[in-house]
């Protein structure tokens, strides 16, 4: 009963990773019949490739800032929309719906809103202002990208925090209140502490998914202006692979996988301490 799943994983995940690993040690351009073996050369090149290093920085900013804000907002709003009531149900839907729309469409929609001739700038122009280069100026473009990413992602974390809140035993909150704790203390000392495992899951999931950010960049900024909002996956797909640098692109992909693995392990290990404190 295991065979079909294992076969699929073997053929479509493990073998391709092997291929990527092999290609990353060659100078293959996608056409020449025999890729030439060049050892670690591709990996050495990565750190001297300025646009790529910049893409790595952008990715890191997105992952770190995005993860923190998406989780802080997700948890905060989960506390506000937890519980019965029609207003809360509508609010849950309104905060969560970007998740089901998908990144490509979110990117196009926000580019129509924030672009030079977009909805916001049209209003600013009509009011006699000069407009804001949300997507046209490098610093603004990064800020806009990160904000849209947070806008699109905190809803999912909120839903997972809601699920976590519902598993908390109500007696503990009551006991804390009886012992004279105020709302602030019950939140931090009881609810937040008990949610530690959910916080870990959410941080890891958000971080992994933001380290892969691609579609939103493609649709919102197309990496611009002048390549300043390219992420690593964007760079790999639209610069390296599209220009026939398959060996080099494979090296970048392998490195990204290693980074994701390391970040996941490190985050989980860091959070284990917080979780142990709950158990104690």
């Amino acid at each position: 009963m295991l065979a079909p799943a294992l076969a699929l994983v073997l053929v479509f995940i493990l073998v391709p990773i092997g291929i990527a690993g092999y290609l990353s040690l060659t100078d293959w351009d996608g056409f020449t019949p025999r890729p030439e073996f060049i050892g670690w050369e591709n990996y050495r090149r990565i750190f001297d490739d300025e646009p790529l290093v910049q893409a790595a920085v952008v990715t890191l900013v997105i992952a770190v800032v995005g993860t923190l804000f998406a989780n802080a907002l997700g948890l905060g709003l989960a506390l506000l929309v937890d519980g019965p009531g029609r207003f809360k149900a509508v609010a849950r839907g309104a905060l969560f719906y970007p998740y089901i729309i998908g990144a490509v469409i979110i990117g196009f929609l926000w580019s129509a809103i924030l672009g030079s001739n977009g909805a916001v700038n049209s209003v600013l122009h009509a009011l006699g202002g000069t407009g804001i280069p949300f997507l046209a100026e490098p610093t603004w473009a990064i800020i806009s990208l990160v904000l849209v990413i947070i806008w699109a992602n905190f809803g999912v974390t909120m839903v997972l925090y809601l699920a976590g809140l519902q598993t908390l035993p109500g007696e503990l909150m009551e006991a804390a209140l009886i012992d004279g704790a105020n709302a602030w203390q019950t939140f931090w000392r009881v609810k937040f502490a008990l949610l530690a495992p959910v916080v870990t899951i959410n941080l890891v999931l958000t971080m992994i998914s933001l380290l892969r950010t691609y579609e939103l960049v493609l649709a919102l900024t197309a990496g611009g202006p002048a390549g300043t909002t390219q992420t690593i996956t964007y760079y790999i797909l639209t610069i390296s692979f599209a220009n026939g640098k398959l060996g080099y692109g494979a090296a970048q992909a392998v490195l990204l996988m290693v980074v994701i693995l390391v970040v996941t392990v490190a985050l989980t290990a860091m959070r284990r301490r917080a979780e142990r404190d709950v158990a104690a």
Binding site: L8, I13, I100
Partner: protein
Amino acid sequence: MKVLRTGILTIAGVIMLAPLYLLVVNSFKSQQDIMERPFSFLVDLSPSYLWDALTAPTYNVVRGYLVTAGFVIGVGLLCLIVTIPAAYVVARGLRRAHRVALMIMLAGLFIPSQVLVIPVVYVLRSINLMGTVPGFLLFETTLTIPVSVFLFTGFIQTIPVQLDEAARIDGASRLRILLQVIVPLMRPAIATVVVLNAVSVWADFVNPQIILGPASGIYTVTTGVYAAIGQFTTNFSAVYPNLLLAIAPVFVFFVFMQRHIISGLTSGALKG
């Protein structure tokens, strides 16, 4: 306290829903009206822009829905057929080999599918499935395996083994135990996996774009939207209607099924 809560939620709601309002209202306006008064609905509203998008020659919206729906259902079913038995064996298995099998299936959690798809192209080519629907479905199903197996394994481990044993004593085969005893109890986890897979397949862009490609003429909603407006992002009287058409069915579905979608997402997610 309650006023503060209502205030914060109202502001957050406005920020979340404003893009949706712009999307709907501007889908009925001319380019000039969109540029001059994007937030207003007190202008000439006409369904003709939606009609133009619906009948555009670049890609057939209705066909895009059908193709996407087919993929969502196909991948969803394949995933359940493949992962439930695998998760059952692993969850009940005691041998080291089972733990290794689980690790192998979870390996994909760390793999960004957007870059994995490039070497997958070579695999698909070598087995003559590149650019075909079966090739796409197999790869897309594989991408659902890590999370699904992870959730199912954790969930099955919370089901007492004594149930399996009682059924075995009654003479049930392993497959029958799985189908008639375990699967009915897995409903919350199955709901979670179904919702997760449906959203990830529907919203996927890179894999249909690269594996099926514009050459195949098979467009999903996301690749179709990209083909329709990718180069014309400032032609707003085409952008807004196309985006509205792309999300309208999903959004209506979400509004009616919201409770089930959100509870489906969470009910099986935090066990085990």
